[in-house]
Every structure is written in structure tokens, then in C-alpha cells.
């Protein structure tokens, strides 16, 4: 089971609380309670998306560091190694998220587009500009596990 499945299971537990509140409000025909429960469910989705993204970012950095270490290895030809040396003056954590992603997946492929969409979603929430972003947390968790499994490893 991946870390993304673990988070999806945690989301499941909390989401069930808000689902139960919606079910009760529907049974009671309490529209105000129904709306409140729906908003809480949405907020919970946003929080879990951020949590998923944080773990995804760690996976990106870890996979990037493996490739970067190989690039810096004395076994790598100097013509290639010098590029890595020039680029990696500091920590891999200081390199932009999407730059690392470009090392791990082809920029022209759907995987890159999906990751870019996550990144935009994360930034949208972090900026606090648009709080109406919608998420399907369990779908994202499943997709993130697939994306990580397809990262370039060398």
C-alpha cells in the first residue's frame, strides 16, 4: 500500500463524518445543515489535497535526487556532469518543483500536464485567492501513486 493509499484511507474516515451529516440533513430536510455539511466536506477535500501534494512533492524530490546523484557521479562523463554541477550548486530542495518534474517526466506527456494541474491547484489554495477549487481526493491519490511509479529513474 502506497503512502497515497494511506492518506486516501485517512480521508475516507474524515469524509464519512461529513457524509453522515449530509445524510442526516437530507433526512431532516434541513437545508441550512445540508449546505454546511457540504461546505465542510469540500474544505476537508482541500485539506487532504494539500496533504497529498506535500507527500507527492517529497516523492518528486527523492526521485530527482537519485537522478541528480547519478549525474554528479565521477562515472558520468564530464560533458554531462558539468551541467549537473552548474545546476546543483545548492540543495535539490532549492530547485523549482516543476523543474524537478521536467527531469522526471516528459513535458509533452499527459503525466506532466496532470502534475502541473496539481501544482496550480496547490498554489490556488495557498494563495487563498480562489477557495472554490474542487477536488476528488481519492482519484488524485490513485493518480499520484501511478505518476510516481512512472517517474524516470535514470
Amino acid at each position: 500500500m502506497s503512502v497515497f493509499d494511506d492518506i486516501a484511507n485517512n480521508h475516507l474516515a474524515t469524509n464519512s463524518v461529513f457524509e453522515a451529516a449530509e445524510e442526516q440533513a437530507y433526512e431532516d430536510s434541513d437545508e441550512a445543515a445540508f449546505d454546511r455539511a457540504g461546505q465542510a466536506r469540500k474544505d476537508n477535500d482541500q485539506l487532504y489535497f494539500l496533504y497529498l501534494f506535500t507527500r507527492f512533492e517529497l516523492e518528486v524530490t527523492a526521485a530527482f535526487e537519485v537522478i541528480a546523484a547519478a549525474g554528479l557521479s565521477p562515472a558520468t562523463q564530464w560533458q554531462e556532469r558539468r551541467v549537473w554541477q552548474a545546476w546543483l550548486r545548492g540543495s535539490a530542495r532549492d530547485i523549482g518543483f516543476l523543474s524537478k518534474v521536467e527531469i522526471l517526466t516528459d513535458k509533452g506527456r499527459p503525466d506532466y500536464a496532470a502534475i502541473k494541474r496539481y501544482y496550480d491547484g496547490r498554489n490556488t489554495i495557498a494563495h487563498g485567492r480562489v477557495w472554490d477549487e474542487q477536488f476528488s481526493v481519492r482519484a488524485v491519490a490513485q493518480d499520484m501513486a501511478g505518476l510516481v511509479s512512472r517517474f524516470a529513474r535514470r
Binding site: Y26, K42, T124
Partner: protein, 154 residues
Amino acid sequence: MSLFGLPDLDEEPIDVAHTERLVDDWIARLQGLRSQVAGWLAADFPSLSVVDRAPVPLHQGPMRRAGLPPRDMPAFEVVGADARIMRFVPKGLWVIGANGRVDIISRRAAPELIDRSEPLAPETNWQIYDSRLGIRSVPWTMGYFGGLVREVLA
């Protein structure tokens, strides 16, 4: 750069006609869902029917950026002679992890229905995330829908 050192949100030029097509397609898919549910009821639960509810406004970020006006997402409810059975609440088209989301709320369950198709794909790929079934999705089928209805009628 702005808040917390995050890059500014994407303000890439947006294709207005394409965005309008996406919205039209989403509303057509919601209307198709309503017709599908009505057809399933007629086949298995002839005493139940679909009634329209007040539409849900749709005016997500890409629409605002394209200068498009708000649109109405059709919302509906399954009802019997003297009882409400379940409500279909469209949540939005631009959903991270999905190509549109509708929440289904009854007094017994509140699953998440998402379309996993690609934008403007000729066929929908409706999938259900039902918290009682774990973190994986199951296809949206007449059998699943019938089960939801029977739970309420039991």
C-alpha cells in the same frame, strides 16, 4: 513571486471558445445523467420519478478568466409519491482528479460521482467513490444505482 514565495497564479491566455465548449459539454453530460437516471427508474422503479431542482450556478475560475457569464448546472432529485429518495448535486466541471463531479445524497449514503473521461471525450466514464466500498472507485451502473434506491426504500 508573491505570498510565501509562491509563483503568481497562471494567467496564461485562455481559449474562450474552447472554454465555452467545455461548459456546454458538461451541461450536456449532466442532462444525459438525468435522462439515464429517469430511464433506469422507468425500468426498475416505475413508482419513482425525477424532478428538477433549482439549478446550481457554475462560474469557475477558467470561465471567469475567459469572461464567460455564469451558467446553470441542472440539479435533480429522485422522488416517490410521498418521499424524497436522493438528490443529485453537481459540484463543478473543473475538478482536480476528475472531469466533473456530482454528489449524490440520500438518507443512507452520500457517494461522489465523478467523470474520469478526458475533456470533450465522446463518451463519459462515470465512476463512483462510495466510502463504504473503500478508496477505489466502482463504475456507475444501473445495478449500483438500483442498490442505492433499494437501501432507501428498505
